[in-house]
């Protein structure tokens, strides 16, 4: 039964999703994913987390229809996964993407644009727009085999966005990318969210997932072990954090005193720190401006 798209605001609906692979030489079957239920709302940025071999890439492939589930059903905007209707609405950036190395950046986008039935000036304009978005205008005529890892990820993101899909699957979009490139990709994801696009992505960089995701699911050994909004999952229920600006040592001592008087035996007062990533990017940006 096709999920009624009018009654729901779900971009992704997966129920009892199970996938096992047959091992060679009659060594039985490998359970890659076991009874996964997953719903992603329209306009949401959803993070898929998990250690290596937890089933993240298998889940993505199933959602894209590249492989078929052993059990369960998947719908993308109400259409069964893998159908032409579903794929028209989806863009995909695979993990460690490889592209036809004999093409340059612009030619690769022209090829993928052709596959999305884009032609002529509409395609040229779209390519130009995306090259600008992923900051590859200057490298567009370089052969892809000379691209760095970060450039490949960005051209991969551009090909995934060519047909302006409503839903994006990004498998480890920042793997192997330096912090500056990684920040660029994060900004693009944030921009997509602002435009109402749905993004499902997997990453090992937890700090980054925390920065951009509305909700996350954690997989391990093919099973979902946790799911929820970041606020639900990360808030420490019985603690409160107070941040104060320009506090003198005397004021700090006074605050400590008040808190003790209120019965808080050992209040923790520390100086907040920037993340190393924030520091790194500010230093690099400053040196580039010099």
């Amino acid at each position: 039964m096709v999920h009624d798209v009018l009654k729901t605001d779900e971009a992704v609906f997966a129920e009892d999703l199970t996938k096992s692979f047959k091992l060679q030489w009659r060594r039985g079957r490998l359970m890659a994913l076991d009874g996964l239920n997953l719903q992603v709302k329209r306009g949401e940025v959803f993070g898929l987390l998990g250690p290596n071999g937890s089933g993240k890439s298998t889940t993505m492939k199933l959602l894209l229809g590249l492989i078929k589930p052993s059990r369960g059903r998947i719908e993308i905007f109400g259409h069964p996964a893998g159908t032409m209707e579903a794929r028209r609405k989806v863009g995909f950036l695979p993990e460690n993407p490889y592209f036809p190395s004999f093409l340059n950046g612009r030619e690769a986008l022209r090829y993928y644009g052709g596959l999305c039935n884009l032609r002529g000036s509409a395609l040229q304009d779209r390519i130009q727009e995306l090259l600008k978005l992923v900051d590859l205008e200057s490298g567009a005529l370089r052969p892809l085999k000379t691209y760095s890892k970060g450039m490949l990820q960005r051209i991969g993101l551009a090909q995934a966005l060519l047909h302006d899909p409503d839903l994006l699957f990004l498998d480890e979009p920042t793997a192997g990318v330096d912090p500056v490139g990684s920040r660029q990709i994060r900004d693009i994801i944030m921009g997509l969210k602002e435009r109402g696009k749905t993004v499902v992505f997997s990453s090992h960089l937890l700090e980054q997932v925390q920065e951009v995701s509305d909700r996350v699911a954690i997989l391990n050994l093919g099973q979902k072990i946790s799911e929820g909004t970041l606020a639900d999952l990360l808030t420490v229920p019985d603690q409160v954090e107070i941040r104060l600006k320009e506090v003198s040592p005397e004021q700090e001592a006074k605050v400590r005193e008040i808190l003790r008087a209120q019965g808080f035996a050992a209040p923790e007062i520390t100086r907040p720190q920037r993340s190393l990533e924030e520091f790194f990017i500010s230093v690099v940006n400053r040196s580039q401006k010099l």
Binding site: F21, K61, L64, L66, I67, K68, M84, R87, R88, V90, G91, F92, P94, N96, P97, Y98, F99, P100, F102, L103, Y111, Y112, G114, L115, C116, N117, R119, G156, Q159, A160, H163, F169
Partner: protein, 290 residues
Amino acid sequence: MSASLLRIWTIARNTLTEVLRQRVLNVIFLFGLILLGGSTFFTQFSIKEQDEIKFLLNLGYAAISLTGLLVALMGTAQLIPAEIERRTIYTVLSKAVRRFEFIAGKYFGLLALLTLMVLVMSGLFYLLLLVKEPSWIYEISHGASTLTERQMREIQAVQQQIHDPHLIQVLLLIWAKLALVAVIALFFSTLATSTIFIVATTMLVYLVGHLQGTARDFWMASKTFTGWRADALGLLSTLVPDFGAFNIVDEILGGNKVPWEYVSQTLLYTGIYSLVLLGISALIFEDREL
């Protein structure tokens, strides 16, 4: 053009670009050099001009056929496995591209290359014959201003051999044979990922296809060959294309006239067989896990 045909065209064009940029042209260039070197070497024997041309024609078309066979076999055997191994297939099939469009695009791209190869190589070969034509005529006339009737007949025979329109039949039959080999290799590449397996099985079918006509005639002549064995042979000759049909090329090169009806029937047979096998390949690939 429909959207589906446009996508097939896009994939075919990209496949042709890929193989053209992968030094396939060097093979053709090498062929040209061998042909030129070979022809100069063999003319040193000073045999009769007409025999020399006949020898050259056999050598030239055998070289076209052999080079084409290698490209059809090796090129097609790598078409699908390389896309899967490099994972470039994910970015293609996650878009609204049907799997049969992918298979058809890949096949027609390689077929375009084979067509181009046959045309360029035969063009080069014809050019070589044109360059050598005056020297053959000189050998007959010895530079005399008035020619005997015998000399005129010999010159006419030489010119007929070089400009024989039936040589187009040879090109068409070679091209059809290559198209058939390519579609068989494509069929096996939808079943397996090992290039060695694909090449080996295609070669096996090619050999069986060459021998099946002779075997059929021999066994059918013996009265004892009845029942299930006859049925099995009938099935085999339906499944495996009759490559022996292309041996008629030797007759044409030997100066014998072959009716166009035979050539067009062989081309029709090739077309139907290729389309059916392409359809079966697409069906198998439809269920393949990527």
